[in-house]
Amino acid sequence: MSGAALPKLALGFVAAAIVALYAHAIFYTPIAYGDQFQEIHRTFTWSLSQYLSSYMAGQGPLFRPGEIVLRYVILYGFGGDPFAYNYFQILYLALTAIMALSLVPCRNWADAGAAITALAFLFGHHAYVAVMEANITFSNGLVLLLMLVVLHVLQAKGSLTTQILAIALSLAAVLTKEVGLIVPVALASGALLGFPGVRRSTAILLVALILAYVGYRLATLPPFEGEMGASTPHTFAERLSNMIAAPVMIVTGDPFDGEWSQFLSRHLYPWRIIRIALGLATIIVILAAYLLRKRAAEAFPDQELVDGKWMLLLLIVGAASSAIAFQYTRHRFGAMVLPVAFLLLDRSLRILIWRLSRIDVAAWARVAAVSLLFAFSLGWATRAADGFVVLRNIGAKIMIDWIEHWQEYRAYEGRDPGTLPYLDASFWAAEEMPWPTVRDDWPFVKFWLGDEDVMNR
């Protein structure tokens, strides 16, 4: 076995374990009624063109035709019943892991340590777990997946195929959800920053796409009228507040859904302190690697450094997430920033490990620095375990919703008797799912692992 084989095996094992753990919970998550049932019913009973034309005719404040197309692909591609959503989510988990692993080298244990920690960051981040709600997975989650592909495109050689891929990714993203705008923004910015993958001519096309999308969005669609909750802004001050809250949420998970008033009023459980501390520590680790870039250039090729263009890309993607919050914001919106942050965290940890092994300092200082990195890695591993707790809680919440609101669901859907065979089938599908025993979880789970912010509330 070569020197790189064991570290690679370890990295693959950890990735497979996290995917298997999350998939286990997803497989046992019932189909939710809200935001799901009517869409599922239409997908089963309407043709795609009928659904799309109806959607465009009754255009509300949202423009997401790509979501509708995806519903057909998922429902008919994964077995023809609503469990297809679960299977799609499991595929999504696996694809995220594969795409993430394809971005990071693993030649030795230093690489493996960095990649395993970065992988725990990606899967354990509150925004990643939050996109595991079914509807969100094929909107925000899809954009997260596309952003992983974007990182490959930016670093590619700029062939014609890459240009076509860049445009296709951008179209797919913006047609699926508003946050998809981040994809063409990242690609066009990458061209300006000097990444080789996107040509200037492609960047111009992408800028035109961004302008056309924003113009269409502002000129034709009606504004939100408060239906998206308290995080829907109306005044300039509220919009500004959301735009500031968005990047803070990406890093710390607070203030939940952009509501600053909740920041101090909610209980500071240990998991919340850990989440905030790990988010801030991640920024510090990446900044440290950026400051070490010239020294790191002695040991790492340019393509593996945390240099100015990568830092700018991270800032631009973060700023784009912030800009989208002018419309409304959610704590999960950070998901689109995660791929860039994941890649930079991996590189940063490799650079810090390398530097720590060479710097001439007292033994206690070296031990202290390595201990801090170990605590950082341990923290993200516990957050990845926390993702499983959250997914079980999402399942439990959906179960209780079926019980608590069953009569309301049936009374509402009873107006169109044709929907009842689908509603009843969804009820029995939930009834046949295992029951998450979240009420019996040990107290330490609630205090140290629980993350009520991410749950479907």
């Binding site: 493996a112 490990i353 092994s357 990195l373 890695s377 009834e431």
Partner: protein
């Protein structure tokens, strides 16, 4: 093993421990007993009263399930081996 490899191996440990824990959990859950899930309680009003008294009080009694006749879809789920309810 170089010093940076040693530090990297140390950083790998939490993730590897998580992986080992997941492996044993899933192996145990699929072959002996599933500790984090149990048989469904959607129609068990006594269980609901214990686990979620607010919802039980709101409903006042068990819900009436729909008929199993004429369902639009059905797929047999793959169920785990459960432990005795705690």
């Amino acid at each position: 093993m170089t010093p940076s490899d040693r530090a990297g191996a140390l950083l790998s440990l939490p993730g590897l421990l998580l992986g080992v824990a997941v492996f044993f959990y899933l192996f145990f859950a699929k072959t002996v007993c599933e500790p984090f899930y149990q048989a469904n309680q959607l129609l068990d009003f006594d269980a609901l009263t214990k686990s979620n008294p607010r919802v039980a009080a709101k409903l006042g009694g068990p819900i009436t399930p729909p008929s199993r006749e004429g369902l639009a879809f059905h797929r047999e789920p793959v169920l785990p081996v459960f432990c005795s309810p705690r």
